[in-house]
């Protein structure tokens, strides 16, 4: 609930989100998506939603990154955009 931190993290979230979509390597996109999830987790801790933050830290930043890496490992890293 400290608004300067809230504003700073919100700005970073947008940058990391755009980065995850812009990077020309799917493995990089997966890792940046993990970073994005972790920023979101931080944001929810700031807003007082501790249960949601805990879930996002374990699910978004943990397991879904592993799923992405596994899927990229089994397909290809190449991407045109």
């Amino acid at each position: 609930m400290i608004w300067p931190i809230d504003l700073a993290i919100l700005t970073l979230v947008v940058i990391v989100g755009i980065g995850a979509l812009m990077v020309k390597d799917l493995l990089g996109a997966a890792i940046l998506f993990g970073a994005y999830s972790f920023m979101m987790c931080l944001l929810w801790t700031v807003m007082g939603a501790v249960d949601v933050a805990f879930t996002e830290a374990s699910v978004g930043a943990g397991v879904s990154t592993v799923f992405f890496v596994g899927a990229v490992f089994r397909t290809s890293r190449r991407t045109k955009d």
């Binding site: 249960d51 805990f54 699910v59 943990g62 397991v63 592993v66 089994r74």
Partner: protein, 274 residues
């Protein structure tokens, strides 16, 4: 497509920002969302269920019907991944690879014959030696991760946590085992069948608790009916009912995570894993 997408996005975004001007200001205590239903939950949860963590109480007690179907959705997602990806080999391969554990000698043995002694383990053609440091660290770490997962499930009444988070942490501990060793090690300890059965058992525990309340004479998911079974007063019965339900959620989520991971990472062949 890019131009069309951009136009659609900008139009919709502009419309939403125009609408956002009418929203109540951020962190306004008197916003409509915070004045209608939630004060009841905040003020009455401790009296009615004796659970300090309001989120857990609302999740598993007041809105338990909703959560039951969320668990069912997770279970169906696991089944969907299984049906989409799992491929069963119709014919056994002609030769299998076996590796001697102590010396690291790899043998190629024809189908139907067994390796000369018990010291051999079966490997795949893509096998790479696992790193010793990673293996040792993960082996030491996994028990603590699992204890933490169990703590998160059991202590969800008093601190952030609950069935979903604890289940994901338990599932992640098994995924760590699969990454640091290989998928065969996991399948040896927790077979695919057990995984699938436990998935369904988790959902069954949840729905069964609700049905038990129905059989004991109260509404579906009204845990105060469990008081006569658990020998406690109705308020504590609701607290215990939440714990039982959270355990069911934890089992279902854990097994679904492992199931989805092993299918996605091995492309449904259950061979090598990541």
């Amino acid at each position: 497509m890019k131009i069309t997408g951009l136009i659609v996005t900008i139009l919709v975004g502009g419309l939403l920002i125009y609408a956002a001007a009418d929203f109540p200001a951020w962190s306004d205590p008197n916003s409509p969302a915070s004045t209608y239903l939630s004060p009841h939950f905040i003020e009455k949860t401790m009296e009615e269920t004796s659970v300090p963590n309001i989120v857990t109480a609302v999740l598993a007690d007041y809105r338990s019907f909703d959560t039951m179907f969320e668990t069912t959705v997770i279970f169906s997602a696991g089944v969907a991944v299984f049906i989409l990806l799992r491929t069963f080999r119709r014919k056994e391969p002609e030769a299998r690879h076996y590796r001697h554990v102590l010396t690291g000698v790899t043998m190629r043995i024809k189908e139907g014959k067994l390796p000369p002694s018990d010291d051999f383990e079966r490997i795949d053609t893509l096998w790479t030696p696992p790193d010793l440091i990673i293996k040792t660290v993960c082996r030491l770490l996994i028990p603590f991760i699992q204890i933490f997962g169990l703590y998160v499930i059991a202590h969800g009444h008093h601190s952030p946590g609950g069935g979903f988070q604890g289940g994901v942490i338990l599932g992640a501990s098994i995924i760590v085992l699969a990454i640091s060793h290989n998928l065969r090690t996991v399948v040896k300890r927790m077979s695919e069948k057990l995984d699938a059965v436990l998935c369904a058992v988790g959902v069954l525990i949840y729905a069964g608790t609700g049905a038990l309340c129905l059989l004991l004479g109260l509404n579906f998911m009204d845990y105060s009916a469990l008081a006569s079974v658990l020998f406690v007063d109705p308020i504590m019965a609701r607290s215990h009912g939440i714990l039982i339900v959270e355990i069911g959620v934890g089992i279902a989520v854990m097994c679904t995570m492992v199931w989805i991971y092993s299918n996605v990472s091995s492309r449904g062949r259950y061979e090598q894993g990541l």
